[in-house]
């Protein structure tokens, strides 16, 4: 007989989710090498962060970003992962588990972390295709496959999970309705006032909310046809291509029950997380401890620690549930709730309402202690309240000012931040805790908010916790921290350009007043510096959706002509790639004569400039030019100006490629696009470079082998030659790289920053990583550009000249003689 003795005990974990793997991590931390570990997972993926399914659905995260333990991690710790195989039997007498494919593993200690199952309401029609739950990555994939702009989704259940699902589907462009049985949303976390504000915010985002609504049936064709609508008990019918049920979860006890372990609602465990069999532990959403089941992550992390202490026999701890707080992961909606938020006859309330700002705070006090908190619209102080609640702090004098937060309570705002425990959540969007941020600052020598953002994701989404992150940097680095020299956009705000752009996207801000409201602008309607910038940022962020604000445009872009020192205007029609025809020249000559235009000049961008046109003549001038097929040249805008070309291989004896045709194609694709500043392109047909492509924002120079692409040139006050981005071979590539480059520039550069200083700031390497190395990103930037162009390519001259009411701005309102 073979007598190899394996000194290590065998630990088998059933369930490859957050609870089970956190326990394994805690075990490895306490006693590395103590066990041979095998993990069974029913899902095929490695362990991922289930809390982040909502951001995954919303498109804020990719699956890679929510993986908690990569496959490498399992290998590194010599853990056997059997993913995609469900355990079907536990033989407690022989201490052996069996998987559905027949895999058998013996154990000394068994840990059950089987989690919970979503509740599928037994409604008529629940079996129809298109009806689903929201629980796993596979569910998200199914939803994304069905989500298409314009299609309808109904989410049954207006609790935390349901609303996050609704938000995600809404962001994916679906028409979303939420059907909730109770009279107010999230009644387990919010009182009626906060729920009302929440409902209002969701309605403003375009969702329809049905409260007090009981679902009758899910209807479709025949018995098995896909779902088409949801019928409510009161007879209302809601269109639905997709129905998501998010009405709750039920501990998954099937396996434990089959093995005759004591179960009630969940698998019964003692304070050590041990089941009725001393060799079997259980943890997470599948357990019931003191008649209580758990679905939030904080108490489950506590369970993991206790469980690991006992499995490794390193400490005799007990699981004691503590109060937990809830946040809604819907970017732009700030909500926090904890404890006894409803109050009763033994409690007092302190309430603050600021309806205009959409802020509501309610503190529930019992005698001298805080026992419940609800914050809506402003959760900056939620961490502080939650700590007071958990510590059962005697409030004393704090009571008078605490509703205004720790800043009012303490003379030093940093002090309250310093007093927060490491477990206090700083970034609600990404679930980053204070401890994680401080550790990252210390371990990686982080110096700036951007460093912290890259390393921990804190404040990387909606950005509302940026101030807190900054505070932690101050506390950690002391005098070593010099506040970043973030230059505010203008005197109206303390925020820099990048922050404003991030908040516009993250906070779903879609109008100038919404930005000013959310970012607490100091002036009622901004100034001549920030308004054009905001108008551009909104236009770039929400193509096809944002309504351009003419009053926030500089005069040139409002009147589609270039104001001159005497108050007259210059008019420059587009000449594609610098080419023109006899008919166009004749039309220009006629316009010059007819309107007595005093000067005509050829520009540096190969166009013809008519100078000295009177404002009241503009519309008539355009009408005549339009009639000859001439359109606006955008020579007045922070926009694509010109594509300059040489004659190229068509005529030139040196030309190696058809630079004129390439230039015309580029101009046809890019005209009408708005940018942080003016943008000029050029295409040269050979390296002699007669089109001066190497001082343009994007320059193309033909070679025998194809095309050299150059970026970041500038011929203005500060001359800068381009840098070589890369070499490509086909015209299609030139087009894709050019459009992707322009899109990256328009989405990331600051208003009034040309490509040259932008590239000097971010580095050529950064641009190459995005445009050259990452083909997928380049493709998606290209597509984003084309999508935006589908709304932008409208000739403003034709629009203005053909519209009576637009005439107002070119003419006097009255004459008084």
């Amino acid at each position: 007989m073979n007598m190899i003795v394996n000194a290590r005990k065998k630990l088998v974990v059933v369930g490859n989710g957050m609870a089970g793997m956190r326990t394994v991590e805690e075990i490895l931390h306490r006693a590395p090498g103590m066990f041979d570990i095998t993990v069974f997972g029913a899902e095929p993926q490695p362990n991922y962060d289930r809390i982040m399914l909502s951001p995954l659905l919303a498109g804020d995260k990719s699956f890679g970003q929510i993986v908690l333990n990569s496959l490498d991690w399992y290998a590194e710790h010599k853990i056997e992962l059997i993913a995609g195989e469900q355990v079907v039997d536990i033989d407690r007498a022989r201490r052996v588990v069996t998987g559905e494919s027949g895999t058998i593993r013996p154990y000394d200690i068994l840990l059950l972390a089987t989690g919970s199952n979503p509740i599928l309401l037994p409604l008529p029609g629940a079996q129809r295709p298109g009806v689903m739950c929201f629980r796993t990555v596979a569910d998200v994939e199914t939803m994304l496959a069905m989500a298409a702009p314009g299609k309808s989704a109904v989410v049954i259940g207006g609790g935390l999970l349901g609303l996050e699902a609704a938000h995600g589907l809404n962001l994916r462009g679906m028409e979303v309705s939420v059907v909730h049985l109770m009279p107010t949303l999230m009644e387990r976390q919010l009182d009626a006032s906060a729920a009302h504000l929440l409902e209002r915010s969701l309605t403003q985002r375009g969702m329809s909310i049905f409260t007090g609504a009981n679902t009758e049936s899910l209807d479709g064709e025949g018995e098995q046809g896909p779902v088409q609508s949801v019928k409510l008990k009161d007879g209302q019918q809601i269109k639905a291509d997709l129905v998501v049920m998010a009405v709750g979860i039920r501990p998954n006890t099937n396996l434990a029950k089959a093995a005759d372990l004591a179960c009630d609602r969940g698998i019964l465990v003692d304070d050590a997380m041990r089941t009725s069999d001393p060799a079997v532990f259980a943890i997470g959403e599948c357990v019931e401890h003191n008649k209580q089941c758990y679905g939030l992550v904080a108490p489950i992390w506590d369970m993991a620690k206790v469980c690991a202490d006992h499995i490794t026999a390193t400490a005799q701890t007990s699981f004691v549930p503590v109060a937990t707080g809830t946040r809604l992961k819907v970017s732009g909606i700030e909500m926090f709730s904890a404890g006894v938020f409803m109050g009763d006859e033994t409690t007092d309330d302190i309430v603050l309402r600021d309806a205009a700002r959409g802020v509501y705070k309610r503190l529930v006090l019992r005698q001298d202690k805080l026992v419940g908190v609800v914050c809506f619209g402003d959760t900056r102080d939620a961490g502080w309240y939650f700590q007071l609640l958990k510590d059962e702090e005697h409030l004393g004098d704090l009571r008078e000012t605490m509703i205004y937060g720790p800043v009012a309570a303490s003379s030093d705002p940093l002090e309250s931040l310093a007093h927060l425990p490491d477990t206090a959540e700083i970034c609600g969007c990404n679930g980053v805790k204070k401890g994680a941020i401080c550790t990252a600052i210390a371990e990686h020598g982080l110096k700036s908010v951007d460093d912290v953002r890259t390393r921990t994701k804190a404040s990387a989404s909606c950005g509302s916790c940026t101030g807190l992150v900054e505070g932690l940097l101050k506390i950690s680095l002391g005098t070593g921290y010099s506040a970043e020299a973030v230059k505010p956009m203008c005197k109206c705000t303390s925020h820099g350009h990048d922050e404003v752009r991030r908040r516009i996207k993250g906070g779903m801000l879609k109008s100038i007043p919404a930005v000013m409201q959310a970012l607490e602008w100091r002036t009622p309607d901004g100034c001549a510096s920030c308004r054009p910038a905001l108008n551009f940022y909104l236009l770039a962020a929400w193509p096809g959706e944002y309504v351009d604000d003419a009053q926030s445009r500089f005069v040139n872009e409002r009147l589609h002509a270039n104001i001159q020192k005497d108050g007259t205007y210059s008019v420059i029609p587009r000449m594609w790639g610098g080419t023109t025809t006899a008919a166009e020249l004749r039309a220009i000559a006629d316009v010059v004569d007819k309107f007595n235009i005093p000067a005509v000049k050829v520009t540096g961008g190969q166009r013809i400039d008519m100078l000295g046109v009177k404002k009241e003549d503009l519309q008539a001038v355009w009408r005549d030019l339009n009639a000859a097929g001439l359109v606006s040249g955008h020579a007045y805008g922070k926009a694509l100006r010109t594509v300059k070309t040489c004659v190229g291989s068509e005529w030139c004896r040196f030309g190696v490629q058809d630079s004129t045709a390439m230039g015309i194609a580029l101009e046809k694709a890019t005209w009408g696009s708005w940018h942080p500043h003016k943008v000029k392109l050029a295409v040269s047909g050979c390296p002699r470079n007669c089109a001066e492509a190497t001082i343009k924002d994007f320059g193309v120079v033909a070679t025998e082998a194809g095309w050299d692409l150059h970026v970041g040139g500038n011929g203005g006050i500060k001359i800068r030659a381009t840098e070589l981005l890369c070499k490509v071979t086909t015209e299609e590539e030139v087009m894709e790289y050019a459009c992707a480059f322009l899109q990256l520039y328009r989405m990331e550069a600051r208003y009034l920053e040309r490509t040259a200083p932008w590239i000097e700031r971010v580095g050529l390497k950064y641009v190459q990583e995005k445009i050259v190395d990452d083909a997928e990103l380049r493709r998606s930037l290209f597509e984003d550009f084309l999508y935006a162009q589908s709304f932008a390519q409208v000739d403003p001259w034709a629009e203005e000249a053909g519209c009576e009411t637009r005439g107002q701005k070119y003419n006097a309102m009255a004459e008084m003689v």
């Binding site: 006097a812 309102m813 008084m816």
Partner: protein, 109 residues
């Protein structure tokens, strides 16, 4: 409103709706062009349509709060006083203007 102007001097020059909010329109007069500004609060102001700096058309500037920024060199002019703001020095003449039942009434000196 400037009390020295008698009501009979006021002339109806158009409806408030004819001026875009946070924008301006002009009225041609013997005193040169006059710019009528409408703020986001629907207040109306009248200034000579010339920046005190280089005579830029103030009516074409961006209106913010009770100020306008000249389109030529970004001088900021107070709509209430006509004075240049900040470090710039200069003043644009004001004219009496009032709103009655949605109509804009302008008085010339």
């Amino acid at each position: 409103m400037d009390g020295t102007h008698n009501a009979k001097h006021f002339v109806d020059v158009g409806a408030l709706e004819d001026i875009p909010p946070r924008g301006a329109r002009t009225v041609k007069t013997a005193h040169g062009d006059i710019a009528l500004f409408r703020t986001s609060d629907d207040d109306v102001f009248a200034l000579r349509d010339q920046c005190p700096h280089k005579q830029g058309p103030l009516s074409q500037g961006i209106v913010h709060g009770a100020s306008v920024t000249c389109p030529l060199h970004n001088w900021v002019i107070s709509l209430e006083s006509g004075e240049a703001q900040g470090l710039d020095v200069g003043c644009t003449p004001r004219f009496a203007v009032k709103l009655e039942a949605g109509r804009v009434l302008l008085a010339l000196p």
